[in-house]
Amino acid sequence: MKKFSKEPKTPLSGEKKLWRSLDEYYQTNNAEEAKGREFTDGASVLESPISRKSFLQLLGASFALAGLTACRRPEEKILPYTDGKSALTQGKSLYYSTTFPLRFKELGIQVESHEGRPTKIEGNPIHRSSKGSSNSYAQAAIFELYDPDRSTVPKIKGASVSVEQALQWLRDKRHSIVEKKGQGVAFLQNPINSPTVAGLIKQLKEILPEAHFHQWEPSHHTSGQIGIKSIIQKQYQPNYLLDQAQVIVSLDADFLGLEANDVLNAKAFAKNRNPDSGKMSRLYAAEPAWSLTGSMADHRLRISAHQVPSVLVQIGAILTGASISIKTDEQSTHFIKAVVQDLIAHKGRSLILVGMNQPIWVHELALRINLLLENGALITLHPVLEPTHPVESITDLTHQAHAGKIDTLFILGCNPVYDAPANLDFDGALKKINSVIHLGLYADETAQAALCHIPEAHFLESWGDVYSSSGVLSPIQPLISPLFDGITEIELLGLLVFGQMRKGYDILRSNWLGSEPCPALNCATVSEFDWENALRIGLFEFEPKDKDLHSEAANLLPSNKESILKLIANYREEVIPDGFYEVVFPLSYSMYDGRYNNNGWLQELPDPFTKLVWDNAALVCPSTAASLGVQNNQLLELVVGDKKVKAPVYITPGVASKTIVLSLGYGRTVTGRYGQNAGVNAYKIRSSAHMGWVAAQVTKLSELYRDARTDFLPNIVSHNELATTQKHLSQDPSEKFYFAKEKSLPVLASTNIAQMIENSDRVLRSGTLEQYLKEPKSVAHGEKHHGEHVKKLPLWDPLPQKGQQWGMAIDLTSCIGCGACAIACQAENNIPIVGKNQVLLGRHMNWIRIDRYYEGEDIDNPLTAHQPVACVHCENAPCENVCPAAATTHSSDGLNDMTYNRCIGTRYCANNCHYKVRRFNFLDYRGEVPEIRKLMYNPEVTLRSRGVMEKCTYCVQRIRKSQTYFSTVNIKEVPDGEIVPACAQACPTQAIVFGDISNPNTKVSQIKASSRSYQMLDEEFNTKPRTSYGARIRNNNPELT
């Protein structure tokens, strides 16, 4: 691999005399400085928004000064994943392995790079955490990288300074704190998952023995670790072998979504959920709010968060024979009984998981019950680099600061001013600290309160490493040198340790090659070869000795039952006083804990259940809404002590009664253009006493939610409400009428719920495993196998089919509805975001949408199923006939193509599409693109102009690329599995499979041959879609039905 350097080595004194300016010729200071500084004066101090001029200057400067092809290529060696490509071929993308470092959700990824621009993130197939898949957070990192609102310039006392000045200031600061041995110095970081950071902290502790080190994360992912600690006295990250469990009980644990290792879990879970092989685990879930896990559950108990422990206590009590007196309703009792029977029947092959928002003792109890049920072997344990208890840690820090004991605080990468527990008064504490130094990707709330703010490099611009909670050590290597000259956490800590700025690469490399990269892991030393190989493949392989709970806790097993009894005996039911409501705080599926607040892709990713975009809301179930007397968009005031927050109501079936769900991550006050005015800040009422839920006084306000972002619309009826992409229960003025009529009109029922039930037979088909095994055809094709007797004649002669025929199969049994496919599609296909007002007008652009259907009679407590829908590529496509310009036509390999250049935008195709998957560019949605944003686009996909229809292409660019490649090596047919569309690639459960349907041996053909495979709306319209669906199968417990 060639080493790229920005410095041409052409000394003037050498024999070859090349010079680029008179200054250089005469070797004046200007030229020397210019060479050393990469950019000319002013180029490095970019203020947002970057002007076109300054960007071009920057681009020109790098071209001129580098003298090489690349503009922002990292200086150090980074190694491509692919072999044999020693040099860059223009127009051909390269893949580099790196790691997505979000704590507890670390993913091994491969990043596609086009001429030095990272454009697309994909899972690393050999990395345990991702196995080639990814999640929406990782997919959306590209958007974050090129965010023009990122912090671009260091600030000291509010004034912009150059990076050099900031570093000088830091060096001075270091001098003074080292002199005082760190007296009054504190550090606040995200939970440490980087061995190199851990190593630097260790060194720093030697230099600054008096300093305090704190870790904080607003999510509560460490609960599981601390639960382990309370049993075996050592903090480990637990992992669950879900593929080996027959019965899984999730207590408020969203292991498929928000909990640690979601992708790994989803993969393992789906592996054991294949009705065709007859192997299907059973999932029970008890939860207050919808989670992806709850939506996948075969049986879901809707229960307030504060009552979740009682479920576990009752399970424990029945298992141990303890006597307890907990009043529960019939439904819960029934549920618990069935769960216990199943757990006993599957001893050693069952798991109970507890969510991060539940107290530590509940985690302990669950782990102990798992041990009792001999399930310990299914819980593997991974070392934790720097064990911590974030809530205690930040509480401690705040108390010290209030006491005036802290003089200097380094906040590295977190945003506690926004997300610290409300009762701690973190703002007040910060004011008592003389110098706060903040390192962050954004000049966020904390940066505003800091004395010194330094822009952080994005992980795609950084060198680093990660020991993931899935137990893999992997490097982070940059794909591009920092766009805004940010520095990394490692570099900043390195500056404090070494007293001078060292490159992140050097620190990392010396840490890896020096001795052991990670003492906590006991892995062997790393050789030069290992290092290069690790960069290449994206992980460092060493024989991991996975510990499991069973063997670690072997000596505790005899006393285990007693401990359980003790925990049960200590259980006191939490009581919510009359007039109060429980408010739960789940992380957001799009904003996470708020750090992705300015990510437009994620802002516009519909919530899996409410389908809300650009906002969060107070979710309540219909009966609670009725008792509160509220309707959608009505504001509620939630009061906890002296803290209060106003949030709009959104009625969501399936939320626990008397519970209000308010997700975290919204309501940022200092954010960029995308996060502005988005939602309400739930942290304002979240206290350190109960991180998962709080009892709040709820007052109904008469006013409705008004959104400043949508005020300027030319609509006659003003749209100020919450925006959702599935509008059934939100915007329908005659909704009440429908509810009243619903049951009395069985034949012509076109009601909200009734039509959905009606259409669960048409659009989304589902059934139980029992039914499926007994009569396989009946689930997908109805009792009468309806539609089969109808002779279907096409209107036109069938189109000629040549070569391989592409098709897709989507398995609704394994689709968890996470939305990774939607973001992956958006990144791959340059799909614009449209903004909240356009969503309100029904102009959401995502090519693949995930429909959410509620099932069941009980409006408060329905089941849920997800159905991803993109263009299904009908063979008899209704859209093709009606286009007057012949802009949408059929390819000989079965694709429904869009010729953007011919499209005149009549929208007739969309009107005639029964799947409603066509997306129209009503306005110039891309608009004036900031220069930096232009680097984000995938050069293989056309950018669509205003007035043009677009839709899923089955990632035709990938198909053609693959076909071209195989034709050059003289292979006629592309082998199965070689072409993977972006959605299929991202899908953590591999619910989406793509391939050649003309060959019966391909994976997709085999899936399509299953009896539960059906073609949506084909019987009605004879469209012959190429995308088929696998009916949703639930493994019901006969006891509960």
């Binding site: 609509n715 915007q731 029904g842 007739y908 969309a910 306005l923």
Partner: protein, 464 residues
């Protein structure tokens, strides 16, 4: 001829066509009076109306410019409701454009002499309405500049032609043909009257302009012979067009698969609806013009009554189609179809459906009563209701069929102010042209109406 028979038919003939039997001179004087008024003496009412129309036209032009600059996202349409007011307005204006040709061609072939009082007027309205309608198929597209280019089958090196399977392509041909034929038909009919104006003109400019437009008409026998033949040929050519244009417009819906659109009843139903709405609009305009221009003697109550009969008939045909649709939806046993119609009747747009039902089916029923049929205020109100009802009909068909198509992609369509200004703007275009027509061209076909008089009939007893 049998005298007895003639007396009987006289009894059947309720009254004379021209009230008070005006002379040829009186007819000409009445018709050309508004045209020959001095510019300085232009009536204030006309000036006021014209300035309102011009203002609306200005609004239309401004909206169109904004539309071209920003894109059709300024309307309320969405991915689910791809067509809304744009196509509603299009079909509505095309429908209105039907009365003219029907009156001048079909009624001509059926030898209905009462048509002569209104045919010029109705034809002008047709042309202007079709012009308004033509705005929408072009402007509703995302890229109008390409729409015009790609829709014409221009030979090109790529060998790509418009998609002849698409009803929109048929639409383009049908509409342009209809517009061209209507325009020529109207112009041919104008020739003798233009010549009359030329001959009567008292200043040079008028004489020159009307002279050029009259194309050398001298009223020679040969001219009349050619004229009559040409008129007959155009009438014969236009007659199938009256049926074809709206049938093809209905194919936009009928040949698609969307439940609520996919019905074979659409072509006759749309043609009946078009005639219905066209007569409605003619009636509204005629009642105003008759009053304002003093044509009461030329446009007699008998003419109005006949028109009301046609409104009643076509209204019931339309109503029959509405009910047939419902029956078929139920009878077909097709869930999608049933859902679509249930949604139409009781869904969120039920108000639009029932407004349509009232205006189109219920309101014209008053014309069963002779007294009401001959009451100017009643027929004015009903004609307005018909116009409203027919707009709702298209809105109901388009929007309610689309907004709840796929069960996961339901939507509720709200128009924006720009939808409204676009629609009202087309009235500006329409009335600007129409007022200019009233001011500068004879609004009643003088030559033709004179031909209906007894004196013009060589076999008439009175003449002999």
């Amino acid at each position: 001829m049998n005298k007895e028979f003639e007396q009987k038919t006289k009894l059947l003939e309720p009254e004379e066509l021209l009230t008070g039997n005006p002379s040829f001179g009186e007819i000409a004087q009445t018709v050309v009076a508004p045209v020959e008024t001095d510019v300085a003496k232009t009536p204030l009412a006309w000036r006021l109306c014209f300035s309102v129309a011009l203002a609306l036209l200005g609004m239309f032009i401004a909206t169109v410019i904004y539309l071209l600059v920003k894109g059709i996202g300024i309307w309320g349409n969405s991915d689910k409701v791809g067509w809304a007011w744009d196509i509603t307005n299009f079909v509505w204006w095309v429908g209105i454009g039907h009365a003219g040709t029907l009156i001048s061609a079909i009624l001509f072939l059926f030898r209905q002499p009462w048509r002569t009082a209104i045919n010029r007027f109705a034809e002008a309205m047709t042309i202007f309405a079709v012009l308004c309608a033509l705005m929408f198929p072009i402007l509703h597209t995302g890229r109008p500049w390409f729409a015009i280019y790609y829709l014409f089958p221009l030979p090109n090196q790529m060998g790509i032609y418009p998609n002849f399977r698409s009803p929109l392509t048929w639409d383009m041909f049908a509409l342009t043909t209809y517009f061209t034929v209507s325009l020529i038909f109207w112009y041919v009919g104008l020739l003798p009257d233009l010549a009359a104006l030329r001959d009567r003109s008292k200043n040079k400019i008028r004489g020159f302009v009307y002279g050029v437009l009259a194309m050398g008409w001298r009223g020679a026998n040969k001219h009349w012979q050619h004229y009559e033949t040409a008129y007959l040929i155009f009438a014969a050519l236009s007659t199938p067009l009256v049926l074809s244009v709206h049938s093809i417009v209905s194919f936009d819906f009928a040949t698609s698969q969307t439940p609520g659109w996919h019905t074979t009843i659409f072509p006759p139903y749309f043609v009946a609806g078009a005639v219905f709405s066209g007569f409605g609009m003619v009636m509204t305009l005629l009642l105003i013009a008759r009053q304002a221009l003093g044509f009461k003697r030329l446009v007699s109550m008998r003419v109005l009554e006949n028109m009301n009969k046609i409104i009643l008939l076509t209204g019931m045909m339309v109503g029959f189609a509405y009910l047939t649709e419902l029956f078929i939806a139920w009878y077909s046993g097709n869930h999608s179809e049933q859902n679509a119609f249930y949604n139409r009747l009781f869904g969120p747009y039920a108000w639009a459906y029932w407004s349509m039902m009232f205006c189109n089916l219920v309101a014209p029923q008053v014309f069963w009563f002779k007294k009401l049929r001959r009451s100017i205020p009643v027929m004015f109100v009903v004609s307005i209701l018909v116009n409203i009802g027919m707009w709702f009909e298209r809105f109901v068909i388009i929007v309610t069929s689309l907004h709840r198509s796929n069960p996961s992609s339901w939507d509720y369509y709200y128009p924006t102010w720009l939808d409204v200004s676009m629609y009202l703007g087309t009235f500006g275009l329409f009335f600007t042209l129409f007022l200019l027509f009233l001011r500068f061209l004879p609004a009643v076909a003088m030559a033709e109406i004179k031909a209906t008089k007894e004196e013009a009939n060589p076999h008439s007893q009175q003449a002999s």
